[in-house]
Amino acid sequence: MHELGVIIQVVKTIEDFAEKNEITKIDTLVLQIGELSSIIPKYVEACYPAAVDGTLLQDTKLKIELLPGNCRCYNCHKVFNLIQCNKQCPDCGSHDWELLSGREFLIKEIVAC
């Protein structure tokens, strides 16, 4: 479980951003989390209230967008979802692929009031 430490880092980044952009109130924070990253959305939601307590984001809503773990087959160039296809190309059966997305952990945007 490392979500709390990671979210505290996110809060710091947002506070810096808010100060630079003279934002005093944030309605919503939008995070993008890749489905192959080691950050688990459910745990982020669970520890979010503790991480934002007493900060600028105390009353800010959290929204999480999940990014798919997609890859491209080296053999036939088919793009497919790694988890759904069990790490195997659904067209040619190859296990050789290059990862295109899914490990991200991004602060996408904030909705300021």
Partner: protein
Amino acid sequence: MKTFKVLEIKESVFEDNNRQADLLRDELKKRKTFLLNLMSSPGSGKTTTVLRTIEALKSDMTIGVMEADIDSDVDAHAVSETGTKVIQLHTGGMCHLDADMTKQGLLGLGTENIDFVILENVGNLVCPAEFDTGASKNAMILSVPEGDDKPLKYPLMFSMVDVLLINKIDVIDYFDFDLEAVKARAQKLNPNIKIIPISARTGEGIDEWADWIRTEVKNWKGQ
């Protein structure tokens, strides 16, 4: 009616750590201190390997050790008995170290005149692989009792390290551990990986490991 404004940030949290890690690496390069990030599961023999490494290298260079654990200071005690400069880092429940924590640890340790710092990361094969600590090189230990399927289960860790030490090689006859299979699995993930079978208990393979460190420290210092 309230007006809402959407401000795009598009900042990767991992990238922020990567930036800090790069800054730390640059600083270490300037100070001519080589930092090795040593990772493994709990119980793989990290501390015993660190002790062996110190023994093999202490006449050639000044060594510092940072022991990262969730709790306790037993590892730091064991290392301090060798007379080596050591600091215990408590992560307070965090399962990995990031670049900022590593930097704080280095400040606490003091790197002046230290050639080689070993960062003994938290025993975990998962998240330490995702957070760049700012180390010059990364190494991991896989011990024989853990099994030869670990590269399949923790591919990211095996794909990002420079060296794989296969520890407890002295007891390989008692386990169903296929050394060649591990080598093949690790090399498939990471064609440039250097694999050294060792026994921190008997000292087997430690010479080759120490030689690798000597060369890397020299290269880092630009000698």
